[in-house]
Symmetry: C2
Subunit: 248 residues, 2 copies
């Protein structure tokens, strides 16, 4: 592992408050690795051996059932994923693959489990991280059950605009095909919905999003703090805010 990576990891909320000695010990048993794009890192059902920390690149978490498959989240630097499976020493519920060339730190899950028994601050950090992750999935489940696809798309577009600092124009952080899966719809349906939304205050040009009437779009999306934020945990959230917490 490169020494210059350590400070970045250390700044993660998960590791920020633990003692330096314990942090070093944890990092000593860990190692970094670089993966090419589209590589499967984790297959759902496998046992959780390592906590993963994304340093560079991005990782898609997806789930499959029979032939069907859907994107659950995208993890961007610098953040961790599959913490929960590591803690419970249980099989992964989701698979993971790189979306691009990606550098990842692997922390053995047994060391992780031993560590939060030794370091209270770390245990508290894990508790906070897990609680945040839990709330994130609940939000996502609420969005799926309470909003139709049009409203989900509109809310996503608005949210991305806010995350980018309230700008009226930005580029989609992921491919539309993946976004469609994340939002629980087919690529065709997303394409059509984006087209239809041009009458509702937003213009789409390739990956470029231009919000032409924020109020109008808001009327449709009816953004809600208890679904859309303010926590930073949805797809693409980490792009603009370094050190944002992400799914696990």
């Amino acid at each position: 592992m490169r020494p210059e990576d350590l400070p970045e990891i250390r700044h993660l909320s998960l590791f920020r408050d633990m003692s330096q000695v314990n942090f070093n010990a944890l990092m000593d048993s860990s190692y970094a690795q670089i993966f090419p794009p589209s590589l499967d890192l984790i297959r759902q059902g496998d046992l959780a051996d390592f906590l993963h920390i994304v340093l560079d690149g991005s990782v898609e978490l997806y789930a499959s059932w029979g032939e069907r498959e859907c994107t659950m989240a995208v993890v961007e630097p610098v953040s961790t994923f599959i913490l929960a499976a590591c803690i419970r020493d249980a099989p992964y519920l989701m698979s993971a693959r790189t979306l691009e060339r990606t550098r990842i730190i692997l922390v053995p899950s047994s060391d992780l489990r031993a560590m939060f028994r030794r370091d209270t601050e770390f245990a508290v950090a894990v508790i906070n991280e897990l609680a945040a992750c839990y709330r994130s999935v609940v939000r996502s489940a609420k969005a799926l059950k309470l909003r139709n696809s049009r409203e989900r798309v509109a809310a996503y577009l608005l949210r991305q605009s806010l995350l980018a600092g309230g700008v009226l124009s930005y580029r989609l952080p992921v491919e539309k095909r993946l976004l469609a899966s994340y939002l629980g719809m087919t690529p065709e349906n997303l394409s059509r919905t984006l087209r239809a939304l041009e009458a509702e205050g937003v213009k789409i040009d390739g990956a470029r999003v231009i919000i032409t009437d924020r109020d109008r779009l808001s009327d449709l999306a009816r953004p809600d703090l208890l679904i859309d934020g303010p926590d930073l945990d949805a797809l693409g959230a980490g792009a603009s805010l370094p050190h944002a917490r992400r799914g696990a």
Copy 2:
């Protein structure tokens, strides 16, 4: 609080391993209360003041957005809910209402947060509980995105049969209207789907479920350990297994 309740709470995985002194301290600051049916206990958006423990009765967790509303989970004795919100000292993401006359223990969330800094075993228990809750919601999100409503209903019916000990006949633990909302469909659609499933190995008579051809039903539902269990956290799971962990 009745003294005879304490052992039952003490046996919850959340409190099982903490020191007796600390358990007593936590219980001293808590109190029990009895609520009539259909009473709103928690409104989403409110600040999380208390961890709730259901001793008797049952509680529905639901979410709303504008006029729309959906059931997220049902909590049955003896288990806790809204742990995550307490820990993050954040607004509830879900509302809660009693389904019947229900006895509940209220643990002040500030005491809770103080306690896991003092008691490592309790911290570890909280970590495990949260990780389990997280995984439970992920399963539920997977079911929603990967299965259609027919498959969800079939999987639910099979799962309930297993939870009841593999019996071929049992009664639905909740009203169909609520079940429909939990499964992400309308009551009308659930009614029709149950009817249609009679050609697929299950007979429905009121609240009574009779599985006539388990294999056939399994072929349709294709139950999956990474969606349907083996953790006990879905709707109605607690009914047959005392001390099962439930949503938070």
